[in-house]
């Protein structure tokens, strides 16, 4: 298999040399084999150090220009939305307060006050009667107790 493969390579190389200049092909190889002086010296150590340094670096998400613009737009819309929402709510409260005060007539206010005064008086009187009746009950009980003692 190996000999067969080598033969094939030999045949292929012969074919290439029959078509193209072997000298030119050799020159291409020489040109490509040129590297800066010392490039391969300690290459493996330098590579490993580089791999380690990239692995130790904390992962940073770098957004594209459009990504950055999208994030900025999101922030802007959130801030603007919050501001407009708060502003709108304050305005709404002021308007409703103004409308309500303007809508109520003086006669209505007076009627409301009077009605409440009457209700308050009724309540107050009932409370007094309740208190008085309970005191009377206590007195009668006390009287009964003293009579029994005598």
């Amino acid at each position: 298999m190996s000999t067969n493969n080598n033969n094939n390579i030999f045949e292929d190389k012969q074919l290439v040399h029959s078509l193209f200049s072997s000298e030119a092909l050799k020159q291409i190889a020489e040109k490509n084999n040129e590297v800066p002086v010392g490039y391969f010296e300690n290459y493996e150590s330098k590579l490993l150090a580089q791999i380690k340094s990239t692995q130790n670096k904390p992962k940073r998400f770098v957004y594209s220009k459009w990504g950055q613009m999208a994030i900025a737009a999101c922030f802007f819309s959130v801030i603007t939305g919050t501001y407009l929402f708060i502003e709108n709510r304050i305005n709404n409260n002021l308007i409703t307060a103004n409308v309500r005060l303007q809508e109520i007539t003086t006669s209505e206010i007076n009627a409301y006050v009077n009605a409440n005064e009457e209700l308050a008086e009724i309540d107050w009187q009932s409370e007094i009667t309740k208190e008085a009746s309970s005191l009377e009950l206590i007195n009668t009980h006390l009287m009964k107790d003293t009579n029994n003692a005598q």
């Binding site: 193209f20 030119a24 290459y43 150590s45």
Partner: protein
Amino acid sequence: MQNDQNLIIQIQHSNNKDAAFTELVKRHQQKMYYQIKRMVNEHADADDISQQVWIKVWNKLDGFKMESEFSTWLFRVAYNETINFLKKQKRDLNHNQSEAFLDYENASSSSNGPKSTQIQIALEQAIKQLPEKQQFVFMLRYYEELNYEKIAKITGTTIGGAKANFHQALKKMEEILKNT
């Protein structure tokens, strides 16, 4: 001296991982770098790509099942990275072939390195005009002297496909040289 398989087992079991990886890099870096450089021509690009390849290998070595040789797998990663780079480079150049052609010609005939002959420049340009896959197959077969089975695994094709790619590459190069 340990073989690649033993080194990979050491890495996968986190046993002397750094030393085992360093040894793997030492063994395969030059061959991989030269293959990439033949494709991209510039040292800086070849250096970047080979670094990317090794970073990928480091990250994926734990999942390597050793169904193929390590060198085959490494060259497959290198093949994918190089093809991606060349596609991106093509997009960036906006398919401006004349500009690329001019740059390449200047680079080829620069005073640095061995003196380029007309035939060499013409041949280099013919190779550059091949589709990436054919170019990669030609380089692997002619310069790395890999068998078709390995080339097929690297480029994700069949043995017949790899052979066809090699012969199509020769045919195309011949045609390009005839027309220049």
